[in-house]
């Protein structure tokens, strides 16, 4: 088992001072340490955006792919080696803009992967344009007259698309994040975690104070197994009305990988590739 600090790499995190990504990174290391995640049992994947830098700072083997595409990369890994814990990091632009198609379809297929969306409701790395999560009316560099688009709701989308674990957490609630990450990783099936994240440099609307004012934790007696109620809950957004916690969880549903008959017993990569005799196929064409 590695200690949390042993996940540090030679690269020092270079997020903006005060960035919500620091909190997410710390929570990830703590959870990794608690669960014993390392390069022998886990693969991390990220897209492109501020969130993607997390791989450089975390000593678990990983793929930093293309903008919008971490989910299919994660899926490919899981299909051939279901033994691995597969955690894909994405941003709101990465996941909902460029990668929207992959997001919906991976939920639908209920792959046993984890998708952690760093949702700062802005394009940070490209210095402040509107994102699929930017609130209506907000002024950004690309919407000087105010954002005319209406934001998406990734938690609600994930529930309707078929993900079997959908949660929301907040980057300045370390314990809550760790709890949610742990549950997500342990859940069998597609886990989607929307991490509300501040971008202190470019998002002046969803600020620290905004979230502190308006988020609340789901009560202990909240039942996440009711899909319709969960959807209603996921759609709450506004003054004092942003729920955090496991919004939806469906237990026992077979994941995509569970349905691959032989392969679920023995990962495809556990058999070394060999030259195969295809004479039978030749014969079938005589």
């Amino acid at each position: 088992m590695m200690k949390a600090e042993e996940y540090n790499t030679k690269i020092k995190p270079n997020f903006c001072p005060g960035c919500g990504d620091f909190g997410i990174w710390l929570a990830l290391k703590n959870v990794a340490s608690q669960l014993g995640l390392d390069s022998s049992n886990t693969a991390l994947i990220a897209g492109i955006g501020c969130h993607g830098h997390i791989l450089n700072f975390t000593k678990i083997n990983s793929i930093e792919g293309l903008h919008g595409r971490p989910v299919p990369v994660a899926t490919g890994i899981k299909l051939v080696n279901p033994r691995l814990n597969v955690i894909a990091f994405s941003g709101d632009g990465d996941c909902l803009g460029e990668g929207g198609n992959h997001f919906i379809h991976s939920c639908r297929r209920n792959h046993d992967i984890n998708l952690f969306i760093h949702d700062n409701a802005i394009y940070g790395l490209t210095t402040g344009q509107t994102s699929p999560r930017t609130p209506h009316g907000m002024v950004t560099k690309s919407t000087p007259e105010g954002n005319k688009d209406v934001p998406l709701n990734p938690a609600a989308m994930a529930i309707t698309a078929g993900a079997t674990f959908v949660a929301r957490t907040f980057c300045l609630e370390p314990k809550h994040m760790e709890e949610i990450f742990t549950k997500a990783i342990k859940h069998k099936g597609m886990s989607v975690v929307q991490i509300l994240q501040t971008c202190i440099t470019f998002n002046k609307e969803y600020t620290l104070d905004f979230y502190r004012e308006n988020v609340y934790k789901l009560p202990d007696d909240y039942d996440p197994s009711d899909k319709v109620k969960a959807l209603k809950k996921a759609m709450e957004w506004g003054e004092k009305n942003i729920p955090l916690g496991v919004l939806y969880e469906e237990k026992g549903k077979p994941s995509y990988e569970d349905q691959l008959i032989d392969i679920s017993k023995k990962p495809i990569v556990d058999t070394e590739p060999v030259v195969k005799d295809v004479t039978e196929l030749f014969k079938a064409h005589v």
Binding site: I11, I63, E64, G65, G76, N81, L84, N101, I261, V278
Partner: protein, 573 residues
């Protein structure tokens, strides 16, 4: 054998009338009787209706191309007669349903009319109207002096397991057609598929089938593809064989997902392949370079069709060559191969897997619609000499592991995710471990390392082009892809023309090609595209400019007859 003496049977009708399967059955009757065949099919992008056509060219020698002429036309509708009657050779015949009163007024008088009550005979044995094509097949077998037992056997193989009740009805339908000819048209019977002694088994395959077979033979573990003509049938061939041969096929949401899933799978250690056509490859272009910079072994099959955009979706073209070489921003090592027939598709697919893992990069195999969907007869392929090579690869835990270590040959030790060797497969420029690094020295080293692999590949693995025909020739043809078949067929008519066939496209075997082209007296480049892609590559790499280009971009094959006529024109005949 000159092209004019090849026998071609053509069957035409509406989509949904079973034209393709009838053509394939007929081809098998011919090969089982000891002959060689080439099947050529044409169809529009429709499931029902529209004109479908399949032709089988038969010969006692190997046959590699379709012919422009038809000897026997089986017309299941009027449109088939209207579209194809002028192709029928003198002394040839049209066979159609006696009760359909098709208009044959435009048909030349040198063509025999053979009328068989196809539907009536099908119904008489208890079958449906659709079975009239089986009656027509039985009649054709009789007309060409074939053995009806082959057709009967195939009907049993086709329906035996799934629908036993259909076996007898179909056999009776075939027999009824056969008997009708023997009784009413015995004077028109020609000795075309008269059974030969002890025929060796031959398979009838297209390049989609052989690509699938080659991939399985080479130990493929993961295939990811979104349906797209003409690559779709690779899916249909592979999907039912997953459990038996131990690989996964996944249909993704789009081609972008396809290549990214495969990159994930390859980094987890699976031998991986994606398949698509040009439009899908456009979407994959982004992932193409991701595989390049992360040094991910990946086989990409691009089955070309007519472009741009939707183009002629069910027709052929060879216009993706420059895209294969130049798509994606930036420079990365990309190996490009091109198959000229189903046999080459088989061996090159196998080779592609080894090259991908040896050089830890993309290998793009170009095929084209004509070889993907047209069948050719072959003896069984022999690949006992093939040795699976995973290159520098380990699943053991290493001390101080550096995924992108600088080495003399540019190739570093690869290790999959999940064995404990830390690395980042990073789309950003990265250092030896995979950490993002924008430093000058590191960038220069990593770029040079990756591109070095192409130098080694050119030296160790790029075979020179193949020369067909005489060493000395008046004319040298240069081409690649499906034109091979038509050119080889055309070459049979000349003793002073040779053909340089290219399969290794990148890294290009510059010296071998240049040496051969310099010897040539007159060069003709043959391609199915508008701008002569291969001529451009040859000029760019060897400095030799080919001035005479035989180009075609109407989606139809470059027929042997067209090549013969071009050669004759140049020779001043």
């Amino acid at each position: 054998m000159p092209i004019s003496s090849l026998f071609t049977l053509k069957i035409g009708g509406e989509a949904g009338q079973g034209i393709k399967s009838a053509g394939l059955l007929f081809g098998k009757v011919a090969t089982r009787s000891g002959y060689w065949i080439f099947n050529y099919t044409e169809y529009p992008s429709l499931v029902r209706g529209g004109h479908n056509m399949m032709q089988t060219t038969i010969s006692s020698e190997e046959v590699t191309a379709p012919t422009l002429h038809t000897n026997l036309l089986i017309a299941l509708n009027q449109e088939t007669i209207d579209l194809h009657h002028h192709e029928i050779s003198d002394g040839g015949a049209i066979l159609f349903d006696k009760d359909k009163n098709f208009d044959t007024s435009k048909v030349k008088t040198t063509v025999n009319i053979i009328e068989v009550p196809l539907v009536a005979l099908a119904k008489k044995v208890g079958g449906m109207e659709l079975m009239s094509n089986t009656v027509a097949l039985g009649a054709s077998v009789a007309l060409l002096a074939g053995d009806i037992k082959h057709l009967r056997n195939m009907v049993e193989e086709e329906f035996g397991k799934k629908k036993p009740a259909m076996v007898k009805i179909n056999q009776d339908a075939a027999q009824a057609g056969f008997d009708y000819i023997v009784k009413n048209y015995s004077q028109d019977i020609q000795q075309v598929i008269k059974p030969r002694e002890n025929p060796e088994p031959k398979m009838i395959v297209n390049a989609n089938e052989t690509t699938a077979m080659g991939a399985i033979a080479a130990g493929m573990q993961f295939y990811c593809a979104y349906p797209m003509t003409p690559a779709t049938n690779i899916i249909h061939n592979l999907a039912p064989l997953q459990q038996k041969y131990g690989f996964i096929y996944k249909q993704p949401e789009d081609e972008i997902a396809s290549i990214n899933m495969a990159i994930g799978a390859a980094n987890a250690g699976a031998r991986s392949m994606v398949g698509t056509s040009g439009g899908g490859f456009c979407l994959m272009a982004e992932g193409y370079g991701l595989a390049g910079i992360t040094e991910t072994p990946l086989v990409i099959v691009n089955a070309m069709r007519s472009g741009p955009a939707t183009g002629l979706p069910t027709w052929s073209e060879q216009s993706d060559l420059l895209m294969a070489l130049y798509s994606h921003q930036g420079d990365f090592p990309r190996i490009v191969l091109a198959a000229g027939d189903p046999e080459e598709a088989f061996y090159l697919t196998m080779k592609a897997f080894n090259l991908a893992e040896k050089y830890q990069t993309t290998v793009l195999l170009l095929t084209d619609k004509l070889i993907c969907e047209n069948d050719q007869s072959y003896h069984f392929f022999d690949y006992k000499d093939f040795v699976l090579n995973r290159g520098k690869y380990t699943i053991k835990k290493q001390d101080n592991y550096n995924r992108y270590e600088l080495t003399d040959d540019g190739i570093s030790l690869r290790s999959p995710l999940g064995v404990g060797n830390f690395f980042i497969a990073n789309s950003d420029e990265h250092d030896a471990e995979g950490f993002s690094n924008e430093g000058i020295e590191n960038r220069n080293q990593q770029m040079a390392k990756r591109m070095k692999k192409m130098e080694i590949c050119k030296k160790e693995d790029m075979d020179g082009p193949t020369l067909f025909g005489p060493e000395e020739a008046e004319i040298t043809l240069v081409s690649w892809g499906s034109n091979k078949g038509s050119i080889l067929q055309a070459l049979k008519e000349f003793d002073n023309v040779n053909y340089l066939h290219l399969t290794m496209i990148n890294p290009f075997p510059v010296e071998q090609v240049a040496e051969r082209l310099k010897k040539a007296k007159y060069l003709i480049n043959v391609e199915q595209n508008f701008t002569a892609h291969m001529s451009k590559i040859i000029k760019q790499t060897t400095g030799i400019e080919i001035l005479d280009n035989l180009l075609k971009y109407d989606g139809r094959p470059i027929y042997p007859e067209e090549i013969i006529s071009k050669i004759n024109q140049v020779l001043g005949r």
